[in-house]
């Protein structure tokens, strides 16, 4: 078919397709995105995030509105009892948080023993669509250990 006036087209089955609201680009909009890969030394500093920041207003992840859910995979090298907190908040269209502080989505003891894997869904139930997340870990007993994390965003 001939291309109708448009800025974007693509080929499909050997034919040129004009992109329109009814005929969208064949992209996989459901593929998850890797949002973070980090190694954290978990120590006793309270409210320290995965990027080892203690600035309490600083998000660990920003610009996440497009994600229905985040999935946090981790591998912990130590068994020390560890508290974690998952915080979230929304921003306006300029990127400015609507206010100071955070919603606490989850808090508790980080599951797993030494050299074990974990997986935590954020939020655990319902959908996210928050703009900013802050994920904190700190140990309350034992010794420092390395926590390796990967967080993916799911649309």
């Amino acid at each position: 078919m001939p291309l109708t006036p448009t800025l974007i087209g693509h080929f499909s089955q050997g034919d040129a397709q004009a992109v329109s609201r009814q005929n969208r680009l064949p992209v996989d909009a459901t593929a998850p995105d890797t949002l973070l890969v980090a190694t954290t030394t978990v120590d006793t500093t309270a409210n320290r995030d995965l990027l080892e920041s203690t600035a309490t207003e600083l998000p660990t992840l920003d610009g996440c509105m497009q994600y229905r859910k985040l999935v946090w995979f981790y591998f912990r090298a130590g068994a020390a009892e560890t508290t974690y907190r998952v915080l979230a908040r929304a921003t306006d269209h300029n990127g400015a948080p609507l206010g100071a502080g955070w919603i606490t989505l989850a808090t508790g003891t980080l599951p797993g023993e030494a050299n074990t894997w974990g997986r935590i869904e954020i939020p655990a139930t319902t959908d996210g669509y928050y703009d900013q997340y802050r994920i904190e870990v700190w140990r309350t007993a034992g010794n420092n250990y390395t926590l390796t994390s990967k967080i993916v965003g799911v649309r």
Binding site: T34, V37, A55, L58, A77, H93, A96, P97, N115
Partner: protein, 712 residues
């Protein structure tokens, strides 16, 4: 044939992901294989099966690769099992076999049994013996101990080495540790000259044997260039060696769990040796990586209140000589040295630390302003020809922290004219109501409604009552919105044009480096895009008040947020450099203090009595800053930068661009002259010339192009 290498490691629990990040950036395919132990009985787990380390199957598997890289290493010469499984590969020397790259290999005499019996009898490097270190290794870099494990250091505590690469006949300062031990002293290797002579006499055919011989010394400690430098090494001391198709190379990567997270990575300071090894092995990358550097505040001068050693005029004089040299360097090498010009000086603060102020503030001596103008004219001319492109860099807003440096920029003074300058009454904050246009009922929006867009989000905003600038010049500016961002950026461009630059975004690069590395978040990125920018330099926490992060891949809606790697020879808190070392310098006020280079007090304790201490400090500083720059170039695809006025304050006014000559040429404070720009760029040029398959002198545009190529 696509380049492909095999990485062999023992455990993902001790694996530095910079190994693979570099390979991805270079477009080299790789396969990861895991050894089941560190002993000779280990099996190697490959994607095509598990093979014994000495098996013909493994040898056949390896033959599909250009090179096999041994990733494991240790800082304990007495360890009995680290990478013993690799001993068999030293005898796989047929032309069909790949090159083997051994970085900081553990081949100590402490290894016994099957390792000993399989170790090639003609191998020409003396095996280190933890019971006889003095007889088997040479202490390097003065022989002092690092206070912590030198192999896992990141951006401080460099060890200083000047290496002579024999085939290339190039001297370069690169961090080099062949082996170390629990005493934390870096060592070079000792050559068995008889065995080496036999290998050199033996013909050998393999694609990596460029001299057609079985043995080749690749690198040795460079001989001193001054009588002051008494740090010499025996003639049988070697740093890198090719034994048939096996490359015996210094440490390349820390054996530690280290993520290259998607914003930043901890500095891997030994990556030069990985790049050099890949080139020696004939692994031709799909992509070469562009090397470039930036400056922040290319023209500023410190007033007497900072207690600098030089007057305003003298500071401009050494900047003039240095910028003239840098512009010429950029011409010769085909690079562009970006300059972040301190804007805001025209409208808000006319101090001598502002580009505008040192040019036009009549409270400063005319001779200083004239000298500053000569520097400025070099920058403008260089901008036009592409060697010194400049963009805005504003500390006069956000409480001194730049874009969104504070919630409100108190007492903001705006520019005159244009769309958002005086006397126009324009929004400076988000409207009271914002509704997406496709759900906005008819008749709801107020009469002052306007459409604003930040990225994919389009809103109709109205009711700006109490949220506009009025017609005046000065007001408190909320920094968290697109209206403020547009006003600020418009003022920057206007000032750049008024300064004589033909544009305000580094010419065709459409880039600038931001003050305090604060890029301000989405509303600023949107405004910068609207004014034609393609990217800016940014820290990952991109506001001064720590409420924002850059996107994971550092690209927002096609807009680049290039990472930052400072390579100044002093800390920002110390304001300026007192040189390589000055006992009375404040914390971070000299290079040694800034980078913790005083290993075992072997600089500070000898400074007054041993001339070699200055050469030691010189070597360590160059190794440190070059390695940070190289890491930014090949691991992060980020940008290294320094502040000329601060880093060059330790030069001799008699000849500011003279090379370092120890105590033969003195700068201020009676200590050795040192020009950081000249030395650092010349040393990086030596590295680039050593690695023509891997690096080239490029520009920030090349960096952003490559980021789009490999990150997307």
């Amino acid at each position: 044939m696509q380049p492909k290498v095999c990485l062999v490691l023992f455990s993902f629990g001790n694996f530095n992901r910079a190994w693979t990040q570099i390979l991805r950036n270079l477009g080299i395919d790789y396969t990861l294989c895991i050894a089941t132990s560190g002993g000779t009985s280990a099996s190697i787990q490959t994607p095509q099966g598990v093979f014994a380390a000495n098996s013909a199957d493994l040898r056949g598997y390896f033959r599909q690769f250009n090179a096999v890289i041994l990733c494991d290493n240790t800082g304990d010469l007495a360890a009995t099992s680290v990478n013993s499984y690799s001993v068999f590969w030293m005898s796989w020397n047929d032309p069909e076999d790949p090159a083997f790259l051994f970085f900081n290999p553990h081949f100590s005499a402490a290894l016994g049994g099957a390792y000993n019996s399989n170790f090639p009898s003609d191998f020409p490097i003396v095996r280190p013996n933890p019971s006889d270190i003095a007889g088997t290794l040479y202490p390097a870099d003065g022989g002092s101990a690092t206070s912590v494990d030198p192999l896992i250091q990141t951006a401080t505590r460099a060890r200083g080495m000047c290496v002579l690469f024999l085939a290339e006949n190039i001297r370069a300062h690169v961090q080099t540790i062949c082996n170390t031990h629990t005493n934390r002293i870096p060592y070079y290797w000792r050559l068995d000259t008889a065995k080496h002579s036999a290998l050199v006499s033996a013909a050998y055919t393999h694609r990596v044997a460029r001299n057609g011989r079985a043995g080749e010394i690749l690198a040795v400690p460079a001989p001193p260039i001054s009588d002051e430098d008494t740090e010499t090494y025996p003639s049988d001391c070697v740093i890198a060696y090719r034994y048939r198709n096996c490359f015996w190379l210094p440490h390349a990567m820390a054996r530690t769990q280290r993520a290259v997270n998607l914003w930043d990575a901890e500095v891997s300071p030994f990556v030069f040796w990985l790049l050099y090894g890949l080139q020696l092995a004939g692994v031709r990358p799909r992509y070469r990586l562009p090397v470039q550097i930036e400056t922040s505040r290319p023209l500023e001068a410190l007033e007497a209140s900072f207690n600098p050693p030089y007057s305003l005029r003298e500071q401009c004089d050494f900047l003039l000589a240095s910028w003239d040299w840098m512009r010429d360097f950029a011409r010769r090498k085909g690079t562009a040295i970006i300059g972040g010009v301190t804007t805001g000086g025209r409208d808000r603060s006319a101090s001598s630390r502002q580009h505008w102020g040192i040019l036009y503030n009549t409270s400063y001596p005319a001779e200083a302003r004239e000298a500053a103008m000569r520097v400025h004219q070099i920058l403008v001319a260089g901008h036009r020809e592409g060697t010194t492109p400049c963009g805005p860099h504003d500390y006069t807003i956000g409480g001194g922290d730049g874009l969104w440096g504070s919630a409100v920029s108190a007492g903001y003074i705006r520019h005159a004219g244009r769309q958002r300058g005086t006397p126009n009454d324009v929004p400076i904050a988000r409207g009271r109501c914002c509704v997406a246009p496709h759900v906005l009922p008819t008749g709801v929006a107020g009469a002052d409604a306007q459409t604003v867009q930040v990225g994919d989000t389009e809103m109709v905003e109205w009711d700006f009552t109490g949220r506009t600038s009025g017609t005046g010049t000065t007001f408190d500016l909320p920094m968290d919105n697109i209206h403020a961002a547009r006003m600020i950026i418009e003022g920057h461009i206007d000032e750049m044009l008024a300064l004589g630059f033909p544009d305000g975004y580094c010419a065709g690069h459409r880039y600038t480096n931001t003050a305090a590395n604060n890029s301000g978040g989405e509303c600023y990125w949107q405004a910068l895009k609207e004014f034609g920018f393609r990217g800016v330099r940014s820290s990952s926490n991109c506001t001064g008040i720590n409420i924002k992060r850059v996107p994971p891949n550092r690209i927002w809606q096609g807009f680049h947020l290039v990472g930052d790697e400072a390579v100044d020879n002093c800390s920002s808190g110390a304001v300026f450099s007192r040189g390589l070392y000055l006992p009375s310098a404040p914390s971070g006020g000299d290079a040694v203090k800034r980078f913790l280079l005083d290993h075992g007090s072997d600089i500070s304790a000898n400074w007054a009595t041993g001339q070699v201490a200055a050469w030691r400090a010189y070597r360590r500083l160059l190794c440190q800053t070059t390695s940070i720059w190289l890491h930014g170039t090949v691991v992060e695809l980020s940008s290294a930068y320094f502040h000329p006025n601060q880093s060059l304050m330790c030069v001799s006014l008699a000849n500011p661009i003279a090379p370092f000559e120890g105590w033969s040429r003195l700068g201020p404070y009676g200590t050795p002259h040192y020009n950081h720009a000249v030395e650092l760029l010349e040393n990086m040029d030596a590295v680039v010339r050593l690695l023509p398959d891997v690096l080239y002198w490029g520009t920030i545009t090349d960096v952003m192009d490559h980021r789009e190529r490999v990150i997307g």
